[in-house]
């Protein structure tokens, strides 16, 4: 026995792990909880569909043209924000800010469209949250989605401020990426809401 250390086994080399960073996992986890939240609201909407004893029904109150317009706004904003991400990955900061601002504008357009639609529902159809089950579930579901769009618009405005002060660069764009993931999620939720509320639900059943 010369030196004990000599005979000790030595561990295998470490293999570097690849995967998402903490902030990305955090956003994924948050979005999972959001999926659970919206699933609950959508299930509730479908449960109460056609259960009303007083009108107006979805078929009487909901009009498609305006909503198709706002839907186009939101879906195309997802395309724009994806373009913005590609731009920042190639280091094109001005193009990024331009596309990013366009996304914000489309988000605001969606909110304005929703406001117009709600005004119509409240004034012309007397549909309020307390009117009937349709009003209750509709305003809750669409309202919470609108709240999430509003949150997204605020978050994107903050990122735009960062970008204009040159704090969003190719090597430092995690904030833009996370907000973009969130925005895609809000968009996907809207597509489901659109299909359930405006396409399937207007017939009084799915």
């Amino acid at each position: 026995m010369t030196t004990a250390t000599h005979t000790f086994p030595s561990p295998p080399p470490l293999v570097a792990e690849q995967g998402l960073c903490a902030a990305q996992w955090g956003m994924v986890a948050f979005l999972v909880s959001e999926v659970a939240f919206f699933s609950t609201l959508i299930v509730t909407y479908v449960t109460f569909l056609g259960q009303d004893t007083v009108g107006p029904t979805p078929a009487e109150a909901l009009s498609l043209p305006l909503v198709i317009g706002t839907t186009i706004c939101l879906v195309s904003s997802s395309v724009l924000i994806h373009g913005a991400q590609l731009a920042i990955e190639h280091g094109r900061q001005r193009l990024f800010s331009f596309l990013w601002a366009g996304t914000i504008a489309l988000g605001i357009a969606f909110l304005v469209g929703t406001a117009v639609e709600w005004r119509e529902l409240i004034v012309d159809h007397q549909l309020t949250i307390g009117r009937n089950l349709f009003g209750t579930t509709y305003y809750t579901l669409v309202g919470f989605h609108g709240l999430h769009v509003t949150g997204g618009v605020i978050a994107m405005t903050v990122v735009l401020g960062l970008a204009l002060s040159r704090n969003v660069t190719r090597d430092n764009c995690i904030s833009a990426q996370l907000v973009a993931w969130y925005w895609h999620f809000v968009d996907v939720v809207w597509i489901v809401v659109f299909l359930v509320v405006y396409v399937g639900g207007r017939g009084g059943g799915l």
Partner: protein, 556 residues
Amino acid sequence: MSLAPPAHPFENATHDGSGRRFGLTAMLHTWTTSVDHKQIGILYILMSLVFLVIGGIEALLMRWQLFFPRAEVLAPNTFNQLFTMHGTTMIFFVGMPILIGLGNYLVPLMIGARDMAFPRLNAFGFWITLFGGLLVYFSFATGGAPAIGWFAYAPLTEQTFARGPATDFWALGLLISGIGTIAAAVNFVATILAMRAPGMTMRKLPFFVWTMLWTAVQMLFALPPLTAALVMILFDRQLGAHFFDVQNGGSAYLWQHLFWFFGHPEVYILILPVFGMISEVIPVFSRKVLFGYEFMAAATVAIVFISMGVWAHHMFCVGMSRTLDLVFAAASLLVSIPTGIKFFNWLATMFGGRIRFASPMLFACGFLSMFVIGGLTGIMLASVPLDFQLSDSYFVVGHFHWVLIGGTLFGTFAGIYYWYPKMTGRMLSERLARWQFWLLYIGFILTFGPMHVSGMLGMPRRIYTYDPDRGWALWNQLTTLGALIQTPSYAIFVYNLVASWRNGTPAGDDPWDAWTLEWTTTSPPPSYNFEELPVVHSRRPLWDAKHPEDPDWQYE
């Protein structure tokens, strides 16, 4: 171990013992503004202990009222408020925060990280949970607490039946603390998946960390539906919406589905971290590695997913349909398979080991012996015809207290006795631990055992009194006697925490000769946890360091 571990220059800034030097204001400032995961963890634990005392007093008041038939200690409405607050407090402001607190303290230390992934989100989660709890209790100041039961069945929560603002406080408080819980879950997922020490692959995670990860996943799925349902209650009450307003087509049945979709996973949120703690304690005190780590890990995942499909076994008596009853009964029975795997693996870990009956192991054995009984009555209740007879009786009350106290609480005590030396640098008194254990063990059996009998004799839960000719008096008196035996055990525990913190035996870095990373740093750890980040090659890195001639990674 030396009496005074070398003080680090930065240590004085955060640690309680030396913090007193700066005066009360400075200490309060440090603790209220802290974003250190260890301090936040301790705050969570202290908050839970305060609420545990409050919830316990509520329970004692109810037991006093039920001691004699036709007693008039409490008015019926007060009794309703007390059981509502007792359940709400114990689930939301004792059970969850104490486990989140232990996880907060331990997860970064066990994975070799310097803090949680999002320290400020962490502080936000704690404070909003605390203020949620306070908000629920503020309802007392509005002329009475909510009297709706902890699962708040519709239409009791509607304006028509709950006129005061108490129910609004209740819903808002739970909603807010639920957001805190989701924040904690997001933090756990990000920390565990992205901040492990070099070499600590997912297959080398300490088992407690693995269970915290899946607890967090379950929180992400289960809490948001509750949040949505609470929003619906608030909309019904404040905006005149009709979700649970039966007269206008709303559905009381929907609330039950939404609540139990949260409520059943919730009980696994309350037990999975405890499974993790037990899986740390039993190996160390049996001097063996955890038996069947992979099977234990897979069983944890199985429990998470199966338990999300069993919620309607709380609703057999609602009259769903024969098919739904059978589906949910079968799914409920399925959960017993992974849980049984865990149970036998713990026994197999102990088998042939050199068992040391120190206080953590004592409580772990208390957990094993009691949890299995609670599990067996659970299997009884999962069978539909039996549930028709026993639903909403004291049998159910006996069952879930058996798993929550026999399971969650005994396991949590095992964890606290195991990790208290790490948190404070002092050992808890073993003599007091034994007094606490036996008083709790005997008092617990005497409290909740007779509930099964009074339940089978037909005593419904939540009644504020009963007639003398029912034959329930003896069983209720035994239950109250058991509660009185349990009470000093909690007092001893609190005394032990305080007295040992002041003048317990110094613990040293590694008092239990354990194997995971938290024991490689000082007790209490410095604010940065590790001077240099550890490198890990096996599930027992400290064993490897202590036994370089025979390291674990050779066998894994």
